[in-house]
Amino acid sequence: MEIMVGKFNYWIYIILIMVGFYGMMAKNNLMKKLIGMNIFQWSIILYYISIGAKKGGTVPIIMDTHSAAGQAIRAIDYINPLPHVLMLTAIVVGVATTGIALALLIIIYKKYGTLEEDEIIEALKK
């Protein structure tokens, strides 16, 4: 019971990864594979952000630093900002991947007239 409730963020991201993985492997349509890949990437981004959260922590922006001297900053008050910054990069990577994949799909559709994988393989064999 402790494993279920205490680490529910792991359960969420594992389920999302498996959903994305199933979409990438088992589906025939290339667009569905692309959506599966997107879900796969976003689940990892959610996982990283979830590990930066703290109980009772607030947004990591330091207010009024110019007020009373000796203003000590306790790291325990703020959530960890580093995973957010890292995931900004990962989001950009995801966007770029989606852009390239969609452009490739347009070319494939123009050439073969279909987006089903088995029909494309048939057309390539000829």
Binding site: F21, M24, L30, K33, M37, F40, Q41, I44, Y47, Y48, I51, P83, L86, T89, A90, V93, A96, T97, I100, A101, L104, L105, I107, I108, K111, I120, L124
Partner: protein, 503 residues
């Protein structure tokens, strides 16, 4: 002075010049190629001077980006392991850029040349960055830069290249995300992303489950990028259908840089004892490598397309490197590192020769190579040098790296791997003999008839000098690497191996 900043400049120069090529290409297409040559020539200078400095200094060069000391900042590290890899990447990309000047105009329309060169330089940026960085997350970013340029530049090829690039993208994203997960697991328990810092913080934690899970994710991710045996299926389609100069750029470099990352993860971030005793992954890696060699060699025997056969050969060579890593002693790791360098030049030699044959005859079917030794003697000579090096014939460099691999396997007392290495070399010999038999051994009457029918008189190769000279340079470098292998191993590679390995 400026030479202190070479670690940053070697990554920044191709990056900026790729966008300069893009902007200039909008107005005038003729200035793209000189800019590429300037960029890559500068990178050769940077890489060679850094290697000289590392050899003279005896210790690594550390460069802090933004003057933030690690573990807060990103640092770039040049030590004995990646100095050689940097020089190889610089030399190969420079020669392939010269080769592509005349070659790519036959396969791509003129209007696409600026975009081709932009992606070329971005790919080289990514490869340099992966090699030189000392930060685990920065490696992910640069790995993705290199991968995206690879997806896009492969899709410029012939029929079916876009579909192959799409499948490569699906596969490659799984690999990169698995690597990202691995880095995330390491970050959770240590709080640091710097490679040297991780190697200090991790040893007390070696028995925790998080570390085993993170290490497995890292291995799977790097294995996909490296074309390790079961997950290599993206490689044959995409590298065959890509344009010739693209295969000549990607095939030598991309998978071998992945193998370098594997050595970094297993022996720099993690202590060697972790991979051998605590979580015995070297057993699995050894079996995976051995199966890959046999399986890929047999599949290569079934191909009639020359470039597809060479693509399966890449998987075989990665299998050799992984057996060297898996034996986890001094000889094995020396063989693996030296084999990375050798394989880069061998594959560059073979792929450029295959591209030249394709542009001359118009087909890659082996059985059409009937009179090639008369019409393309220099190309076939270069191909033979590459083939002899892959098989492992002295004085080519391939012999020396296989010698060290066999010594390492004997010292680890794994006789099955020894048999696999020898059988693999034999199968490679059969592979190349198939091609050379078709190209060289024809009866005199047949040759005369075919030449007269085609109206061809015996001349030297009719391919332009811009394609001929890089090929000959690769062949000469292979022989030089073989002759000077002792010096290279004693001066550079010996210091790249962590001291904790026994033997």
């Amino acid at each position: 002075m400026i030479s202190e900043h070479f670690p940053a400049l070697i990554v920044v120069t191709p990056l900026i010049l790729s966008f300069v090529v893009f902007a200039v290409g909008l107005f005038d297409r003729r200035y793209c190629f000189p800019l590429v040559i300037i960029a890559l020539g500068a990178c050769i200078h940077f890489a060679v001077s850094m290697m000289k400095k590392v050899i003279a200094q005896g210790s690594a060069i550390h460069y802090y980006l933004g003057a933030w000391a690690p573990p807060w900042g990103i640092e770039y590290v040049v030590d004995h392991l990646n100095a050689l890899v940097l020089v190889s990447i610089a030399v190969i990309s420079f020669l392939v850029a010269i080769y592509s000047n005349s070659n790519v105009k036959r396969e791509l329309p003129e209007a696409k040349l600026p975009q081709f060169y932009t992606l070329f330089l971005l790919q080289v940026t990514g490869l340099f960055g992966i090699t030189i960085t000392g930060d685990a997350f920065n490696l992910y970013v640069l790995l993705e830069i290199a991968s995206f340029s690879a997806y896009a530049i492969i899709a410029m090829g012939e029929n079916g290249a876009q579909f192959a690039a799409f499948r490569y993208m699906i596969f490659g994203t799984i690999g990169a995300c698995a690597y990202l997960l691995g880095v995330g697991y390491l970050y959770i328990i240590t709080g640091s992303l710097n490679m040297a810092d991780l190697s200090k913080l991790l040893p007390p934690l070696y028995h925790s489950k998080v570390l085993i899970a993170g290490f497995s994710f890292l291995l799977v991710g790097i294995g996909i990028k490296m074309a390790l045996f079961p997950v290599h299926t993206w490689l044959p389609d995409s590298y065959t259908l890509a344009p010739s100069s693209v295969s000549a750029l990607l095939a030598p470099l991309f998978t071998k840089v992945g193998a370098y990352v594997l050595i970094r993860v297993m022996f720099t971030i993690f202590d060697p004892s972790f991979s051998v005793t605590i979580f015995p992954v070297t057993e699995i890696l050894g079996w995976v490598g051995a199966t890959g060699i046999i399986f890929a060699s047999i599949l290569a025997l079934a191909q009639t397309d020359l470039k597809r056969m060479l693509c399966y050969l890449i998987v075989v060579e990665i299998g050799f490197i992984v057996i060297g890593i898996a034996s986890a002693n001094r000889f094995g790791l020396t063989g693996a590192i030296f084999h990375i360098i050798n394989d880069m030049f061998m594959m560059a030699c073979l792929f450029t020769a295959a591209g030249a044959i394709f542009s001359q005859i118009g087909t890659r079917n082996i059985y059409q190579f009937r009179i090639l030794h008369k019409t393309m003697p220099i190309t076939m000579a270069v191909f033979i040098i590459g083939a002899l090096s892959v098989i492992g014939v002295p004085p080519m460099c391939g012999f020396f790296s296989k010698w060290y691999l066999i010594l390492g396997v004997i010292q680890a007392k794994k006789w099955v791997y020894l048999a696999v290495i020898l059988i693999g070399s034999l199968l490679n010999a059969i592979l190349f003999f198939r091609v050379l038999e078709n190209a060289y051994f024809e009866t005199r009457n047949n040759i005369e008839n075919t030449l007269n029918n085609k109206g061809v008189t015996v001349t030297l190769d009719r391919i332009p000098k811009g394609e001929l000279i890089p090929m000959m340079c690769f062949a000469v470098i292979i022989i030089l690497l073989g002759i000077f292998s002792g010096k290279i191993i004693n001066n550079i590679i010996q210091f790249a191996i962590p001291g904790a390995l026994q033997g």
